[in-house]
Subunit: 422 residues, 2 copies
């Protein structure tokens, strides 16, 4: 109990300091924020040894606990990765500053001049897993957007995160910004994370970055506003009118180019009229690329190598070289399948028919809906939005790739000459 | 336990039906939605008797329970109020349709054409107190923005709400729209409301409309996204450079014109340099209008009628003819007071100094910040945004008066010619 109170006090203290820092951050001009980003980048490189020593401790502990190689790879820092983090900060410095944008402005009949102005959100919390680069990437985006950040990284990367946080917070202070603009929760317990989820009045936004379990926990327990980057159970629908060569290229790209990411395709829907011709062709490519095919009955007739699909497969985000395939009878059936089983991330139709394209883009309920292109383009960089803090699959505030603008709010500024309401 | 399961099943069934209706609502054109609004308005007037009979039951029950007169007044329906609700629907029909707006659009280097398009949120839940007009107002806004709505009104207005819901849902069906676009939770228990707060996957947004207690309950318990219209502890700061005649008009208007609403002023901050001259003048007006003055020490010296202010007064939204008054030393002190005690609603400075105006509008953290105007203008109608569902004091998604746009999301539509990612 005493310990719980202590953790509560620690997290609330972080919140208070962050709020005070956020007040200052909101008044900075772009040059000051860019100078801080440059200072952070330079400090990372200058302090490489110290950061790598901390990372070494995390790696030893992880190896000792028999952690798998893909997790170890995420966790690992080396001098190349430190340079990449620094370059990421320079990239953020180059982006346009969202703060101060006049989103709208008008004058009403009594002469009041109303402007809707973009402002920082204030204090942003982030809970993430064992990827130390998130410590730097998220901090950079928050600094550029004029916010203060409270970081709560995975316990496996504890030493790396504390070292990185110290280096970049010092650098921010060296540049004349409040040191508390970047803080980390030093207590590695789950209780500390839970406190962060309920830090109303101090936290304006909490961003969970990680797997479905983390997001589920945050959504269920948080009382502060949350923006989540959810799963991507993405579909490609090959219409009866599709250019089948194009469809083949798109399907193979969406599934195989990088299967472990959220905008990779997980299910292929094929119109019955072209299934005979299309499925054996695309299946040959899949097999050549070692993709396991899971199919409905019709698919299994056309592709003998296909395994049997169950209801569960339509819901599954495989994130590996595996694809579910279903033959359907109409664009309507494709839309219904996607709206039922999908996660509202990225969905594509391949078609030559204008009406099908229009119906699909209008009726599919997702962050990004594609006509004749791979779902793999759902990404802040590919969209030309610059660095992103994730891809939102929620509908409130931000949907799709979340760039700097997602880290802002607006306020109305109203200037008058003594107007009163009658 | 069996009852809990039943309530759960009922609310989930509402959610499923609403989701199906929302799919259709999203595809409607503006004319179809406007026809439905007209049909609703006409049905209200045509069914006045039936609605008034239901209202009569609620009134009898409320009178029997000895409910206070202001609550009774909110609860009461009569033929004038029914006509007002109908007129409100015609007003919404005249508003521009937010759905289909292309918020942004551009082409990236590989030729992909990206459009960010405004779309309905989907299913909107609303929990409100004993104001039957909200049943109609909220439904009208949801229909116009292409959403389905699930209504959960206060139990005191149960009969009125059910009668109104039946009339407008029938009218929507008569106009060819899905009847389930407007549904009400018929179970009046608190458990039913709690189920609505956790109806993830079916509810895209929950709007609590009511007092701080309701909002607190929803924010603490909801796992679905929430937009709240919070309290307004609004301030007027009279700067040392203020035109004192203008300041007096603004202060009196902001406090007295309609003291029971959220954009009325609750605290007056006066710069020490003008306190001697200003406070006795404005106090005379206050006293003439029967406003109780609660002051700090300096105020009490200048205004003998003032009662003593405690720390709690600075936090209080009186919502009546009562004002807290504090004398301060600088615009910075005014900003700090407001950011500490305020609720981020509407804040005003009266000044002739450009630097003070700029500093105040930049540093005060609120939905609406005024220079030389009354806080009473924070309102969708006064801003020229048309009807509103409330005034958001949160920072995510919508801040300030929430019109139709607050009930929408966006999706990216990306059209290509076979682009794949390399």
């Amino acid at each position: 109990m005493a310990k719980t109170e202590e953790i509560k006090a620690e997290v609330m203290e972080l919140g208070k300091r962050a709020r005070a820092a956020a007040r200052v951050m909101a008044t900075l001009n772009t040059q000051q924020k860019n100078d801080a980003l440059t200072s952070m980048a330079e400090a990372l490189v200058a302090n490489s040894e110290r950061i790598l020593a901390a990372s070494e401790k995390d790696m030893e502990a992880a190896t000792g606990r028999g952690i798998g190689s893909s997790l170890i790879d995420r966790l690992m820092l080396n001098s190349v990765r430190i340079k990449e983090m620094a370059e990421g900060l320079f990239d953020v410095a180059v982006l346009a500053d969202p703060v101060g944008e006049i989103v709208k402005g008008w004058r009403v009949s009594n002469g009041l001049e109303i402007r809707q102005v973009r402002v920082p959100l204030g204090v942003i919390g982030i809970i993430y897993e064992a990827r130390p680069n998130v410590t730097v990437d998220a901090s950079g985006l928050c600094i550029k957007s004029g916010n203060a950040i409270i970081l709560r990284g995975g316990s496996m990367a504890h030493n790396s995160n504390l070292a990185l946080t110290k280096v970049i917070a010092d650098a921010v202070a060296d540049a004349g910004l409040p040191r508390d603009a970047i803080q980390a929760v030093t207590n590695p317990s789950r209780e500390a994370a839970n406190e962060l989820m309920r830090l109303n009045h101090f936290l304006d936004l909490l961003v969970p970055r990680g797997g479905p379990e983390l997001i589920h926990t945050v959504v269920s327990h948080a009382t502060v506003p949350v923006l989540w980057a959810g799963a991507g159970n993405c579909h490609i629908y090959v219409d009866e009118s599709a250019d089948l060569d194009m469809a083949q290229r798109i399907v193979i790209n969406a599934k195989c180019q990088r299967p472990s990411v959220c905008n990779a395709a997980e299910t292929l829907l094929v119109h019955r009229a072209v299934a005979d011709e299309f499925l054996p062709r695309v299946a040959a490519d899949f097999i050549a690329q070692e993709v396991t095919i899971i199919g409905d009955e019709t698919t299994r007739k056309l592709v003998p190598q296909a395994l049997e699909a169950t209801e569960k497969d339509w819901y599954t985000e495989y994130l590996e070289l595996k694809i579910a395939v279903r033959v359907i009878d109409s664009v309507q059936e494709a839309i219904d399948h996607i709206n039922k089983y999908g996660t509202m991330h990225s969905e594509a139709i391949v078609t030559r028919d204008h009406g099908s394209a229009r119906k699909f883009t209008e009726e599919v309920d997702a962050a990004a809906v594609y006509v004749n292109a791979s779902t793999r383009f759902t990404d802040g960089g590919q969209f030309g939005l610059g660095a992103e803090i994730g891809i939102s699959t929620q509908k409130l505030h931000a949907r799709g790739p979340m760039g700097l603008t997602a880290l802002t709010s607006t306020k109305y500024v109203i200037e008058g000459t003594g107007q009163i309401r009658s």
